[in-house]
Amino acid sequence: MSGPEETDLPGGWEAATAEYVLGLLSEEETAAFEARLAQDRDLRQDVEAWEEYFATLTDPIAEVAPPPQVLRRAEAELFGRRSQPAWRQLLPYLLGAVTAAAIAWAVSFSGLLDTRDAPHLYADLETPSRGLVMLAHYAPDSGTFMVRRDAGDYPEDRSLEIWLIADEDSAPMSLGLVDREGLTEIPVPRAIARQIPGAAVAISEEPEGGSPTGQPTGPVLALGQMAPRG
């Protein structure tokens, strides 16, 4: 390891400390310096002293109010989407196409949530990489949520779980598992049915029997938005 003290430059570690604070050391020298810094309390105090002195060079710099999006982006990065799985980041785009509120409004307006006249809702659920093609279908007259698998194989020793995500801020709610064979039919209570218009539906691959945590744990294979067919 070639530390700054092994060169014939003047100043040894003391000068290297100031160079470190100025960011003038090479990558290799920085690594050597930091290795020593981690164990040397005096060196750390020297670094802090240089930082304190050099920081005063910014005293004459005028304050400039940053635009509001900087805080928004920082908070989104820290508290928002970063802690969520990647598929959730697709939701705003998906749900943004037609807002959930707009669909819910159209649906309630057409039928005033009278289940007799409310339109049927559909979402295409496809995983091109696996050749999976499924259709989600909600029939409000019978209060039944259905999933039909039109193509692709059901993964062996695994279950496909159906999730309803009411809006961007809601946690996924399990509706049940896709049946291995035939049409999956799931009766939906009214409280949940109300949230279906405009909601996102996701299919995730889970351990056999469904997610052990109550939230999707496996890869999300498909994502769609429940909307009336024109």
Binding site: E14, A15, E52, A55, D59, E63, V64, P66, V70
Partner: protein, 185 residues
């Protein structure tokens, strides 16, 4: 009475425990200063905004490592901002052969370090550094200032002075030793 310094230390301590309200308060108190620093280094609004976002994400992640050391907590924040901005500046300029303005001793006399009179509330460290910088030959002081405020590398300082890199480094290290000796008086 709470001093601004104690208030900022308190906010950093609360951020270390995951307090988002404290994070927002610290941002309100300090973002304008740190944005000024990023703009000074980068001279580019969009990049300065990105750097500032980096800085606050680092503050959130590293607040637990901050320890009260008797120095100003603003130093910790300014150092994070300066370093984030310099990183971005160097990435931007890597390989583009950024043209650095030549350092010419004749131009530097008219650009003195801010004296105590200009900063009635200047910290003791500010006065000490300013008077010790004034003891250096003007072009050496300018090199130190460039390295800190512009993030100039030795290669860039060599171009700016028309001197070989190793010579520049020797000069600057001597100057830093001289500064250190002066500051410890």
């Amino acid at each position: 009475m709470t001093t601004p310094q104690a208030e900022i230390e308190d906010l950093i301590a609360r951020i270390a425990m995951g307090d988002r309200a404290a994070f927002r308060l610290l941002y309100d108190r300090t973002a304008a200063k740190l944005f000024g620093v990023c703009l000074r280094v980068l001279d580019d609004r969009a990049l300065a905004e990105e750097a500032l976002q980096d800085v606050y994400c680092k503050i959130w992640a590293r607040a637990g490592q901050y320890r009260v050391n008797g120095f100003s907590p603003m130093t910790w924040l300014i150092t994070l901002a300066r370093n984030a901005a310099v990183d971005r500046r160097r990435r931007r300029d890597a390989g583009t052969g950024r043209v650095t303005d030549p350092i010419d001793a004749a131009d530097l006399i008219a650009d003195p370090a801010p004296g105590p009179a200009q900063h009635a509330e200047a910290r003791g460290e500010a006065q000490a550094l300013a008077s010790c910088m004034a003891e250096l030959p003007p072009e050496r002081a300018e090199m130190v200032r460039r390295a800190y405020l512009d993030g100039d590398t030795y290669a860039e300082l060599a171009t700016a002075t028309g001197v070989k890199l190793n010579t520049v480094r020797t000069w600057l290290r001597r100057s830093l030793m001289q500064l250190r000796e002066c500051l410890s008086r």
